[in-house]
Symmetry: C2
Subunit: 309 residues, 2 copies
């Protein structure tokens, strides 16, 4: 077996990106990763240096890597960690401590929203005692996170919400939406969602990186992140879809990036005739929290909280 060499300097490569036939050494990989991130930010006009950016951090490799890069690139980024009180495998505790270590090391601002303190219940409490949550903690988790990210952005005057979604995440979402041909979901999937009345602008600067690329980045940069997946995600559909796409990728390198790029090209050509803009559906304001909702009085989040009382 011959050792792969870095395309730029000829030193031993630490990563080989088969889909783009690019092998790089540590330092050229970091350089490449930063340049690609900057390119994507510019191309999609994602953020500017005057933006107040809130980054949703989970303690995983993607969100911490993104925080690291954006800071390096000179953006003003505060982090938001939503602690859901997941005691299984000490998951929330471990996640938060990874983030706090990172924050202390780099002197960054972190907002922690602990649902046990704020609402008085953990994810599992809510999941077990509401109709919405019945046996589906992931659905409750998604609802809480969406609500809090939007609420905190609004209250604390952040004008952009960034998330660490990588290509594998985007591809799994797209695949999932094609299985049911949810056209509003498909046609609205984008690395940038513009702000609409009551919804903060959302950006995903890492959306073109394969998961193994963000992992490599975090490892090389010596970022201590939580390796474990959320204990509730075991056997989840999105993980199942990622396995499928990984399998196709291993047989045909480039499958994932081609899938997403050809999708974006189709989107750009306007091939999806979607008369159902998701943002148009949220025409009402929740009478409790004030966030946009499709419902006439309380939003889904507030209805869920209400049903706990």
């Amino acid at each position: 077996m011959t050792t792969l060499k870095c395309r730029h300097c000829g030193n031993n490569a630490v990563i080989n990106m088969r889909h783009s036939k690019l092998a790089l050494c540590e330092s050229h990989y970091i350089e490449w990763f930063h340049r690609q991130t900057e390119k994507v930010i510019k191309k999609y006009n994602m953020i500017s240096h005057s933006d107040r950016i809130l980054l949703a951090v989970s303690g995983g490799k993607d969100s911490l890597s993104l925080w690291y890069i954006l800071t390096e690139l000179g953006y003003k980024v505060d982090g938001l960690y939503i602690n859901l009180g997941i005691t299984e495998d000490d998951y929330s505790l471990k996640s938060q401590s990874c983030i706090e270590e990172f924050v202390n090391k780099w002197e960054l601002n972190l907002i922690v929203y602990n649902i046990q303190n704020e609402i008085g219940y953990s994810l599992i409490d809510i999941s077990q005692s509401t109709k919405r949550g019945a046996g589906r903690p992931c659905s409750v988790c998604g609802l809480i996170k969406r609500h809090e990210k939007n609420q905190i952005s609004d209250e604390q005057n952040f004008n952009v919400l960034a998330t660490g979604h990588n290509l594998d995440d985007e591809v799994a979402t797209l695949f999932s939406n094609t299985l049911t041909w949810s056209i509003p979901m498909i046609s609205n999937q984008s690395p940038v969602l513009e702000a609409t009345d009551g919804f903060v602008r959302k950006v995903k600067p890492l959306f073109r990186f394969y998961e193994r690329e963000t992992t490599a980045y975090a490892i090389i940069q010596n970022i201590q992140y939580i390796y474990e997946e959320c204990p509730f995600s075991k056997g989840s559909k999105s993980i199942q879809y990622k396995h499928i796409m990984n399998d196709l990728e291993s047989k045909q390198p480039g499958t994932k990036i081609n899938y997403f790029t050809s999708f974006q090209n189709a989107q750009k050509k306007g091939v999806f005739q979607n008369n159902d803009q998701i943002s148009d559906r949220y025409k009402n304001k929740c009478k409790s929290c004030g966030q946009p909702t499709t419902a006439p009085d309380l939003c889904a989040y507030c209805r869920m909280i209400e049903s706990l009382k």
Copy 2:
């Protein structure tokens, strides 16, 4: 383990269709299968009793089952077998002999088009000695079959071409086209393709049946078909995609039918804005065979044959 009972008569069931929670005994299964086929034919206005139908038969369970049913339902159907001279595993020989046994038993008309006799070369000859075919017999096979089915329908005044594609075939094709977001291919995929200038009308009456359902039908009806897949299809992408969909189906019964039905619903709503009708591309007539083509002089098939000389 309790034996499943037929929903209609309480006898032991021979098949359980988990996706529709329907278990049936032999005779009620056959009754159900025929009724479903008739329903689909009517719903899509596929064929009438005055049509001269040409059925593309491969010797497999789907095409022979379809021939059996259509004949039972009183349609006038001749078969077309294209013998590609595949000597691996005696594949073409075995396929043809299954078909001939079927034809003799039921006194049906079969047209055999043997490419060795007609063109003077086998599939592998062509695949090995043309640029188009280089190492890709499946691409050559598709091209020959499309060409001959259309040519023979036209010459012998058939006004409908039927094929035995089942749900698994359709789902694999759809999935394949989403991987590259080929919108013209996606938006034109249909169980009925109307005739256009130079192209015969095409129908797929079995498109809503799972592969295991057409297999069960063939077995119960004691149809002797070729069990083996084509030796060149081993490891092919379409088989790979079928495995993926089978895997999803086993975890969530109904995945395949829901995938295809929700796709058809989206199509019906006109969500695919496709300015590129495939039939519009075929504006020229081939100067050799007269079939529609995108090329200025010879069609892809005639170019390939020309390059053999």
